[in-house]
């Protein structure tokens, strides 16, 4: 019983980080209807960002996240202008291929530079004991930061001018232009924020598990499952979807082999697409 509780708690904490990763994917989809296939490799870059700053320069991993976030934002803006903007009005296949090529470039360069051997950020804050459950503090911090960033994103989208522009462009790009909103710049900014969330999520994951340059792919797939669970284009749904996935990952290995986790996840993915394609939390459709 205690063992189950620990697993659930563990999964729940991890779920916040999954949610954060998925939010990057889902924000970009929600604003510009682009499935960003470079999401996974960008998560990997976040992992390596924290790793390099920590191992190379001795910067505290949580401080390193700030630099990783800025890098992620700028990288996303560059990717938008280089690869996405020219095909933004083309059919979905074009944007899929464009972001897929970005993924191939990042993965190719990353493998050449870092090889595919595993790394880890050797930085532990110890653990926290609650009854018979022992929780690594790294996980608690990662969950707390993810929550904080989600709240920050929510407030940003609601309360700031550029946040409001992002929602307006997502809702009706043409009308936003007519009201004087430079929509191309707003799309670039949205893409940047999406990739920023991905790199930060990657950086947080790096403080929890060992990883390789290819590790982001796993989280990209999780992000898709979460996006479908929570409704693509819905940041709060992404967080809730992340929590559900996290808990499932905590519970499933307690009664069946852990290798079954992705199988169950993708059965869920297909089932939801069949039964409730708008997501469990009824996302908007514009």
């Amino acid at each position: 019983m205690d063992f189950l509780l620990t697993s659930i708690l563990d999964g729940l904490l991890l779920g916040f980080v999954y949610g954060l990763a998925a939010m990057g994917l889902t924000l970009i989809w929600g604003v510009m209807n682009v499935i960003n296939l470079s999401h996974g490799p960008i998560i990997s870059l976040g992992m390596f960002g924290v790793y390099l700053l920590f191992s190379g320069l001795g910067i505290n991993p949580y401080v390193a996240l700030i630099f990783v976030a800025i890098f992620g934002l700028l990288l996303g803006i560059v990717i938008y202008f280089v690869a996405v903007n020219r095909v933004i009005n083309a059919p979905h296949l074009s944007t899929l291929l464009a972001t897929f090529s970005v993924a191939m470039i990042i993965t190719g360069l990353g493998t050449a530079v870092f090889s595919a051997s595993p790394r880890n950020v050797d930085y532990s804050l110890g653990s926290f004991t609650l009854g018979s459950a022992t929780i690594p503090i790294n996980r608690i911090v990662a969950a707390a930061l993810s929550m904080l960033i989600t709240a920050g994103l929510y407030i940003y989208l609601r309360r700031t001018r550029s946040g409001r522009y992002i929602r307006a462009v997502a809702n009706n790009r043409n009308a936003a232009e007519l009201m004087g909103v430079p929509s191309v710049r707003i799309l670039a900014l949205s893409f940047g924020i999406g990739t920023m969330l991905a790199t930060v999520a990657g950086g947080l994951i790096a403080t929890l598990f060992p990883f390789t340059i290819l590790a982001g792919g796993t989280y990209e797939l999780k992000s898709f499952v979460i996006g479908v669970l929570g409704g693509l284009g819905n940041p709060v749904g992404a967080l809730l979807g992340g929590l559900i996935l996290g808990v499932l990952e905590g519970i499933i290995p307690t009664f069946m082999p852990a290798t079954w986790v992705p199988v169950i996840e993708f059965i869920l993915f297909v089932l939801i697409l069949m039964v409730r394609p708008q997501g469990l939390f009824g996302a908007k459709k514009s």
């Binding site: 409001r164 522009y165 929602r167 307006a168 997502a170 809702n171 009706n172 043409n174 009308a175 936003a176 232009e177 007519l178 009201m179 004087g180 909103v181 430079p182 929509s183 908007k284 514009s286």
Partner: protein, 236 residues
């Protein structure tokens, strides 16, 4: 003085040419109407003016400046504002957020409070519904909001596409009254309408567009008396 001028514009979509050398000019402080049958090219003309499609030939001038190739948002920033056909509200946003979005141009930001008060006075219904999601309102209320959002942009020229489309006649009358007040306050406007009778009744000067060309233009009162206009558009 002409504040907005369209000179010999040809444009269209892909291979399909819609405008065949259209020229018109809007005098400052005047309410100009652009009328014509469905498919005459009215909306295409507005899209060309706003820059959502580019003119193939010819040019668009605002305040003595060639704005033919500026992006849409830059034109809104200058004060050329369109209330588009079909309202195009931010349906996921509240009424007040839509109005705040209207005040996006830099020149409008300083006057948000004043303009909010102004549009709420003009359309008290919007004030009652300020927190409601705009997509859930009735057609008439949505049209009020679309016009109010345009006013929030602090326009120098306000163009309104198909104000009356799909609305009950009594509502249309109300909206036209509001426009009359705006005109009396000195705003330069263009009304693009299929409802020829109403548009000519309220405007100072009119253009009749047919097959992508200006067929006839003149003071609205004269147009309303014109034999051809009466038989072709007014049904008597």
């Amino acid at each position: 003085m002409a504040i907005l001028e369209i000179r010999d514009v040809t444009s269209g979509y892909g291979e399909v040419q819609i405008l065949w050398g259209t020229s018109l000019s809007m005098e400052e402080g005047r309410l100009t109407s652009l009328v014509g049958a469905n498919g005459a090219g009215k909306t295409t003309l507005l899209r060309t003016v706003m820059g959502s499609i580019k003119p193939w030939q010819g040019s668009v001038w605002f305040n003595g400046q060639d704005i033919s190739h500026l992006p849409t948002h830059a034109k809104a920033e200058m004060g050329v504002v369109l209330v588009p056909e079909g309202r195009q509200l931010f349906t996921d946003m509240s009424v007040e957020e839509n109005l705040e979005m209207g005040a996006s141009p830099k020149r409008a930001r300083a006057h948000v409070a004043r303009n909010l008060e102004r549009v709420y006075e003009m359309f008290p219904r919007l004030k009652e519904r300020r927190a409601q999601k705009s997509g859930t309102m009735s057609g008439g209320e949505q049209q009020m909001l679309a016009v109010a959002r345009g006013i929030m942009a602090e326009p120098i020229v306000l163009m309104i596409d198909e104000l009356s489309l799909g609305l009950a006649p009594v509502l249309v009358l109300d909206l036209f009254q509001s426009l009359k007040k705006l005109k009396d306050a000195g705003l330069t406007m263009m009304l693009v309408e299929q409802n020829v009778q109403m548009a000519l009744a309220i405007s100072d000067y009119g253009y009749v567009l047919a097959q992508g060309r200006v067929e006839i233009d003149g003071p609205s009162r004269e147009l309303a008396e014109n034999e051809h206009v009466r038989s072709a558009y007014l049904g008597h």
